[in-house]
């Protein structure tokens, strides 16, 4: 039966994505075997598919894609106490391999030898069955769906970004980019008590969605807008005030610059988008106005918070899932994501559970 074959989405090299049957693994000590349910497609999955590499991470061997996943426990390995067969879980893809200074200090995302699903050479979760470290599988209450569980990964990017930015009650926040990442940052900022959220994008359609999800103000940017002009526009819509935190989600140099200019003195610009290795930055402005520039690398200590926020219905990620495809239609799913149509595309890996 289809559900007992471990159908997996394997990237062999760029442009060469294949559906293969792989053996169902056995969970080792402290691991669980998961029957995967929902997996979201990330821009990075598409990037590996199109380019075979991201920065220093280069695909050299076939690799299973997918790192935004949820599923149910099929079998537990030895030593696993907090999970049992049947438990529904969300999967945190980054697992440190050694207890180094970063791990001990609680910033395990910075550990250089960390395992990360679907980053070469580590396999991801776009399959029917996978094993995973049980400490990085978080039980989902009944009130949280598998798709919400899979959304915890991009939501975590936002939780970490908003934390790094110091978003808190009364914050004025400026988000650059209204794609999936901009939108999750919008949701999290609101949850953290931000009083006003300005979001900008090139696309009116994306800005409309942002407004529906709670943006206080939207700014349509066109290709002719300069970084300083964008900064000025933000000040204008905020009635002369400047944002305490700016969250850059596009990776473009223009927005990195605008983020500096827009931010209030003493505030923080968080860089989520990944830009070019070298960027021209208004350094003197950030120096004399004490605007901190802080990047983010993935996240740490976010899953428990995310599960609670979803369970208590304080955050609603369901509107962000716009497309779903069965695992077998992975290529169409990837093409849809690549076209930038909709927001989050989900792959459904359990043939018996194809709904949201």
């Amino acid at each position: 039966m289809a559900e007992h074959e471990n159908l997996s989405v394997v990237l062999h090299k760029k442009h060469d994505l294949r559906l293969e049957k792989r053996p169902i693994p056995d969970p080792g000590p402290n691991e669980v075997l998961l029957k995967i349910d929902s997996v979201g497609i990330c821009g990075s999955d598409v990037h590996y598919w199109q380019n075979g590499e991201i920065g220093d991470f280069i695909l050299k061997e076939p690799m299973v894609l997918g790192h935004e996943a949820s599923g149910s426990v099929s079998k537990v390995g030895s030593g696993v106490r907090h999970l049992k067969a049947g438990d529904r879980v969300a999967i945190e893809p980054g697992i440190p391999r050694e207890i180094d200074e970063h791990c001990r200090a609680g910033r395990y995302n910075l550990s250089p030898t960390i395992f990360f699903s679907a980053t070469p050479p580590d396999d991801g979760n776009l399959c029917r069955y996978n094993t995973h470290d049980a400490n990085y599988c978080y039980k989902l209450p009944e009130s949280v769906s598998f798709e919400e569980g899979a959304m915890i990964e991009p939501l975590s990017v936002a939780i970490h970004a908003c934390r790094r930015g110091g978003v808190t009650i009364g914050s004025k926040v400026f988000i650059l980019g209204a794609g999936t990442i901009g939108l999750v940052n919008l949701l999290v900022s609101k949850s953290m008590g931000a009083s006003q959220i300005v979001i900008c994008d090139l696309s009116m359609g994306r800005l409309e969605k942002a407004k529906q999800l709670g943006a206080s103000f939207t700014i349509a940017v066109d290709r002719g807008t300069s970084a300083k002009e964008l900064g000025q526009k933000v000040k204008q819509v905020l009635g002369g005030a400047m944002p305490d935190v700016s969250i850059e989600c596009t990776g473009t140099e223009l927005c990195e610059q605008a983020g500096v200019y827009a931010t209030k003195s003493g505030g923080v610009l968080v860089l989520v988008g990944m830009g070019k290795p070298s960027a021209n930055i208004p350094v003197l402005d950030l120096i004399i106005r004490e605007v901190d520039v802080r990047g983010v690398f993935r996240y740490c200590n976010t899953w428990p918070v995310a599960v609670n926020m979803l369970a208590s219905k304080r955050i609603d990620v369901k509107p962000l899932v716009t497309h779903r495809f069965p695992l077998e239609e992975v290529l169409e799913a990837f093409e849809t994501t690549k076209k930038g149509v909709g927001i989050k595309v989900m792959l459904k890996c359990d043939p018996n559970n194809q709904g949201p």
């Binding site: 920065g55 970063h102 200090a105 910033r107 995302n109 910075l110 250089p112 790094r164 990195e256 003195s265 003493g266 860089l271 990944m274 830009g275 070019k276 290795p277 070298s278 960027a279 021209n280 930055i281 208004p282 350094v283 003197l284 402005d285 950030l286 120096i287 004399i288 106005r289 004490e290 605007v291 901190d292 520039v293 802080r294 990047g295 983010v296 690398f297």
Partner: protein, 343 residues
């Protein structure tokens, strides 16, 4: 009374001006010692600094200490005879920045020797009493005058998150770099490595407590970062960049441990090409600083307890009427700190 005055025509002269009366909440000070800063030299040479443009003659000097001669109305905490260190910049409006303790970021500030405000390179000067800090007997007037540049270093080390056990890289061994070295060590940094183009500056750095020095020659920033790691045995948690040179900004980013901080003290051009992705994906924070805030009481305490010794950094002294020679000496970058004696 004599004052060292810079004119927009890039001439510094010594002139006589009237002795001011202290206003409400002010004190009249007889000036004791005033240090010369790179910015004083810059105004002298260029008549401007960034957006601050000289439009009329301006008294220079913002690193000063003096003795209270007369108190204005409302002054409770100072009396005639008290020796004080002068915090030269203070906010003019009690805005949100002031209320939250970051008064240095207030958009409208008074600042000595920043156009259009006069400094205190003179014999008599009146200042806001809330920004005059009493010096104990054991802290000399020269040490008091040193509190201003020391404050730059205190604010830098705070913003740079230097703390007990930190490993610190300092780029530049000029006066600011050396002060950061003193403050970093006093803050409890375990090891400080400092780099510079000049071996004599590095010798001074070694004398005042640098654990390691690196003479920069032809390396690329990445190579220098590797040298730093080799010499320290690990990557620094904090880098304090005191040169304003793009090369050092790059070095700071490449050198710093993931999760660490690069603190930019030195000013460079408006737009700088920066290895931003490297910093971002390793969560190396890039922070700048504008002057300082809430540093004077701490500086006085550290000088009084002898935990920080700035005296080795004072290399030249001139009487006020030899101000021009003092400025020429500073401009030539001879020595470290040039002091003018005003009494």
């Amino acid at each position: 009374m004599s004052q060292g005055v810079s004119r927009p025509t890039n001439v510094v002269t010594v002139e006589k001006r009237p002795i001011p009366e202290p206003g409400q909440n002010e004190v009249l000070l007889q000036m004791n010692a005033v240090g010369i800063c790179g910015s004083d030299v810059h105004y002298w040479q260029h008549g401007k600094l960034g957006d601050f443009l000289m439009r009329k003659p301006m008294v220079l000097g913002h690193e000063g200490s003096g003795t209270v001669v007369k108190v204005g109305a409302g002054v409770q905490h100072l009396k005639a005879g008290d020796r004080v260190a002068i915090e030269p910049a203070y906010p003019l409006h009690n805005d949100d920045f002031c209320k939250s303790g970051r008064y240095n970021l207030s958009p409208r500030m008074f600042c000595c020797a920043t156009p259009p405000y006069d400094g205190h390179l003179c014999r008599y000067y009146a200042h806001n009493a809330n920004y005059c800090f009493k010096l104990p007997e054991c802290v000399s007037s020269e040490e008091g005058a040193f509190i201003e540049p020391l404050s730059v270093a205190i604010h830098a080390c705070r913003r740079g998150r230097v703390k007990l056990g930190s490993k610190v890289l300092i780029c530049g061994a000029g006066p600011i770099g050396l002060l950061n070295l003193l403050v970093a060590k006093a803050t409890g940094a375990a090891q400080v490595v400092i780099c510079d183009l000049s071996s004599s500056r590095l010798e001074k750095a070694k004398e005042v407590g640098a654990d390691f020095t690196i003479l920069v020659t032809k390396e690329t920033p990445q190579e220098l970062a590797q040298e730093v790691e080799k010499v320290l045995g690990c990557m620094p948690d904090s880098t304090i960049e005191c040169t304003g040179a793009e090369f050092c900004v790059h070095t700071g980013i490449y050198s710093t441990l993931s999760g660490g901080t690069v603190l930019l003290v030195g000013h460079g051009p408006a737009l700088v090409s920066v290895p931003l992705l490297n910093a971002a994906i390793r969560e190396v924070d890039i922070r700048g600083m504008f002057r300082y805030c809430n540093t004077y009481p701490m500086a006085i305490a550290m000088l009084a307890s002898k935990k920080v010794d700035v005296k080795p950094l004072i290399t030249h002294r001139f009487p006020l009427d030899q101000a021009v020679e003092a400025f020429e000496t500073t401009k030539k970058r001879l020595g470290i700190k040039v002091m003018l004696k005003c009494d």
